[in-house]
């Protein structure tokens, strides 16, 4: 059985917010869920960005469940890119990178960017003094 690891954005209509959706994903479909960003206000639309690890079948069944509950599912397609060639490795971007995607090597003090860890919060885009980080869709 293939294990899937994906980042997806769930958009909850206001009526669904009160339901324990994530509980069902974990309990019924064996989703290993890591919530990266969430904005849920009672009475309004909610958005949740998470990374999920699940078997292929469970993954598809889980997504079907979400859709049947009226939750909109979109894969995370936003991507942050770094212009590595022009980087001076100052480290200003690492000050705002909570996910640890941008980090300085403790020996060389060169910047490294691990795209897999990036949650596309975009804080680094403004934090880079040289404007070398940009958002791509």
């Amino acid at each position: 059985m293939m294990t899937q690891r994906k980042r997806i954005i769930l958009t909850f209509p206001s009526l669904v917010i009160e339901k324990p959706i994530t509980y069902h994903l974990v309990k019924d479909f064996d989703f290993k869920v890591n919530i990266l960003r969430a904005k849920i206000v009672s009475g309004e639309e909610g958005r949740l960005l998470f990374e999920v690890e699940a078997d292929e079948d469970d993954f598809e069944r889980g997504l079907d469940f979400l859709r049947s509950e009226g939750v909109e599912v979109t894969p995370l397609s936003k991507e942050i890119r770094l212009n590595e060639k022009a980087c001076t490795h100052c480290g200003a971007c690492t000050a705002v990178c909570g996910s640890g995607a941008l980090s300085l090597d403790k020996d060389t003090w060169y910047l490294s960017f691990d795209v897999d860890k990036c949650v596309a919060c975009e804080l680094c885009v403004d934090a880079c003094p040289l404007g070398l980080l940009s958002v791509h869709f």
Partner: protein, 389 residues
């Protein structure tokens, strides 16, 4: 004063012969740790120090040459960035932080300087009131570094000897010249190269003084004066190293020979434009005091962490930490672990220290004895708002 082990002349003679022992400030710290300060004094001739950080108090004097008919410029713009021209007819000073009148914070004086040394053409626009000797009232043309006369960098305050780290106690993100500060002590930023930083290796200005030849933006430049806000009176630790911002240097050098690798325009979001300046300073190991000073390590250099959430010149210090702690990736504030991040590039500073080392080793860079020392007793005055005549 400690007994002289070697003189400038002796060191320069060894440099000319290719015999000088040159190490970086990182390397000398390791040597001292392993073999002791005596061995540093015995074996090392020169230690190279360096920094590569945002230095707002930077800019360049330019002389454009005279047009036909000539103009006495009263206002001048370079790529729509105003330059100061309250000088002779075609002299101007372009300050690093001046913003473009069209593009605001996206382009400024620092970008003009970087574009100029990169060989790009710059649009020059100037106006004047016209005189009998300078009849022209306006001009619009293009210049580049080869078309103009002098272009020299003259930075009134660079290479701060230590600097406070920054954090933010408020509930909102702060956009500062110390970078993006996350709410509720979400991070700490700092901006010196620590044990590699020039004035942290010469805390009492024994060798770095007026006339000291330095690596500046990729060329050879000089220390012109003490920098503005030079504050040698800052409280010091038992090793003589100031705890927080202290001494500064004003530096000068030929812009035309500099490289955009070591002079980079930058923008701090919500704050404005600034210039990253690469500076390398050689320190001759003349005596035991100097040998001890250059052996300083990040663990022995401390600074305060200031709360930028308090909009005052007296920002409260929430913790005092060493650079070893700052470099570890986190520090403790009120018992809470807080992430740290540098703003000046240690990788670039190390590169500059290595470049300077090899220039000295190969005889391309000779040391100069300062013609005067930097002041040892100055203090910084404050500006009173609403002062009376």
């Amino acid at each position: 004063m400690a007994k002289r082990k070697r003189t400038y002349d002796e060191i320069n003679e060894r440099i000319r012969k290719g015999e000088a022992v040159v190490v970086t400030a990182d390397e000398v710290t390791a040597i001292a740790k392993e073999s002791g300060v005596e061995q540093v004094l015995e074996k090392v001739d020169v230690v190279t120090t360096a920094t590569f950080g945002a230095m707002c108090s930077s800019g360049a004097f330019l002389n454009f040459g005279h047009s036909e008919p000539p103009i006495k410029m009263t206002k001048v713009w370079l790529n729509d960035v105003p330059a100061y021209t309250g000088l002779a007819a075609v002299d101007a000073y372009i300050g690093a932080t001046e913003l473009s009148e069209r593009e605001g914070m996206n382009y400024g004086g620092a970008h003009v300087i970087e574009d100029l040394i990169s060989g790009k053409r710059i649009r020059l626009r100037a106006t004047a009131y016209g005189t009998d000797c300078y009849p022209r009232r306006e001009i619009e043309t293009y210049i580049d570094k080869d078309s103009i006369n002098e272009a020299f960098l003259f930075n009134p305050r660079n290479a701060y000897q230590n600097y406070a780290a920054a954090t933010n106690s408020t509930d909102r993100i702060l956009h500062t010249y110390m970078g993006t500060l996350l709410p509720r002590f979400g991070n700490v930023t700092y901006s010196t190269s620590g044990q590699l930083s020039p004035l942290l290796n010469d805390p009492e200005y024994l060798t770095v003084g007026i006339g000291t030849r330095i690596f500046l933006g990729g060329a050879q430049g000089y220390v012109a004066w003490n920098g503005t806000q030079h504050n040698p009176s800052r409280q010091r630790g038992p090793n003589g190293v100031p705890i927080g911002a202290a001494g500064t240097i004003a530096v000068i050098g030929d812009l035309k020979q500099m490289s955009p690798r070591y002079l980079r325009a930058a923008r701090f979001y919500g704050y404005g434009v600034t210039l990253y300046v690469g500076i390398g300073v050689p320190i001759p190991v003349l005596d035991e005091d100097i040998a001890r000073f250059v052996s300083v390590s990040d663990a022995d250099i401390t600074t305060g962490i200031c709360d930028y959430g308090i909009p005052s010149r007296q920002r409260p210090v929430v913790a005092t930490v060493s650079y070893a702690q700052l470099r570890s990736g986190w520090v403790e504030i009120d018992g809470k672990k807080v992430r740290t991040a540098p703003l000046s590039s240690l990788a670039m500073a190390r590169e500059i220290a290595e470049v300077l080392k090899s220039q000295i080793e190969t005889g391309k860079f000779l040391l100069t004895e300062p013609v005067a020392r930097l002041p040892l007793t100055a203090t910084v005055r404050q500006l009173a708002a609403g002062g009376e005549e």
